[in-house]
Subunit: 198 residues, 2 copies
């Protein structure tokens, strides 16, 4: 056998090339040839790791999801140890916004893959499941933050997440600057959770 290589590392590398292309020129510009060129590989090698283009896109979607989860985790971990649930909540939501070029690219590719998923019931179900998980996490945080009406916590969570999603679009479009988007988010958070947690 030859040098024995880390398959998953190679796939991630290819996946990264894919989404550099997708972020810069759109998902429609993603082809095996373009990806291979961007990754500095031969087409055959890309085929060796992804038998079909769809596999490549599916892997990229999973990869993207891991990155976003990691960003959320780091955003929460960066909080001072004494930070209450309200700060945690804010850390989670801001981690979902495309506030810098890196996360902008991720969001861009994420939205493109999202639309693609809508035409495929199976993939759509995965997205729905992830979205439902987010809702329950935010609901828990709201309850912990002493949300005024615990019975309405889930409704408030849905509102927050939909708002965050909409702000992400506005950021992508350039309708909002990062500062403006945060202003909108914070203003709404102020309405919804007590300013100083017990």
């Amino acid at each position: 056998m030859p040098k024995q290589v880390d398959h998953d590392e190679r796939r991630r590398r290819i996946s990264l090339a894919l989404w550099r292309i997708a972020a810069a020129r759109g998902l429609e510009s993603v082809s095996m040839r373009e990806v291979a060129a961007e990754a500095g590989m031969s087409i055959g090698l890309v085929q060796h790791y992804f038998a079909a283009k769809d596999d490549m896109l599916a892997f990229t979607a999973r990869h993207l999801r891991e990155r976003i989860e990691e960003r959320v985790r780091q955003s929460v971990a960066a909080l001072p140890r004494a930070a209450g649930p309200r700060h945690t909540l804010r850390a989670v939501l801001t981690a979902l916004l495309p506030l810098d070029p890196g996360s902008r690219d991720e969001t861009l590719v994420g939205v493109a893959l999202f639309i693609r998923a809508l035409n495929d019931p199976g993939t759509a179900a995965l997205y729905r499941h992830g979205r439902a998980g987010l809702t329950s996490a935010v609901t828990r945080l709201l309850r912990a933050a002493g949300h005024v009406a615990p019975a309405e916590a889930e409704l408030t969570a849905e509102t927050l997440l939909a708002l965050t999603d909409g702000l992400a679009s506005d950021l992508l479009l350039g309708h909002h600057s990062p500062a403006q988007a945060l202003r909108v988010l914070d203003h709404h958070l102020d309405m919804v959770v007590p300013a100083s947690p017990v």
Copy 2:
């Protein structure tokens, strides 16, 4: 000359075929051949009305926008004559949500074209302009509805529009039913504008 035909009507017919395909199978499945087949025309005839595929997509984006404006107008016009600004506001926002199969298709294609626009600065500027217009319209309605803090009306408008946008995504995904989405929207409207207008 032959029968002299309404060019714009023909273009709209082609555009409709395009977006039936895009809604059902994604923008990536839209090709001159597919559109021609769906519209029941020859490829050559489609070319006669749209010299390039990009023209076809650009026209479809304008067409879509007109339809959405028309939906908003009708939604407002359907209100009882005595309806106050708060009802008008709600009519505008719900008209932007994909609550039935027809508007679902429109939203689906709209989002796909939106992402495409992000890779083209000129088109993105058009979308930004439209989005800004929405903001000022909603801001006016909020002020008219006796929004508690007039100075914050614009901030509230941005919140409402981002929320609506996020709810649209949730509806497309099937995370929310129409009734659930309206519950979220109404709950937020209750927080933000006085229940009974003067």
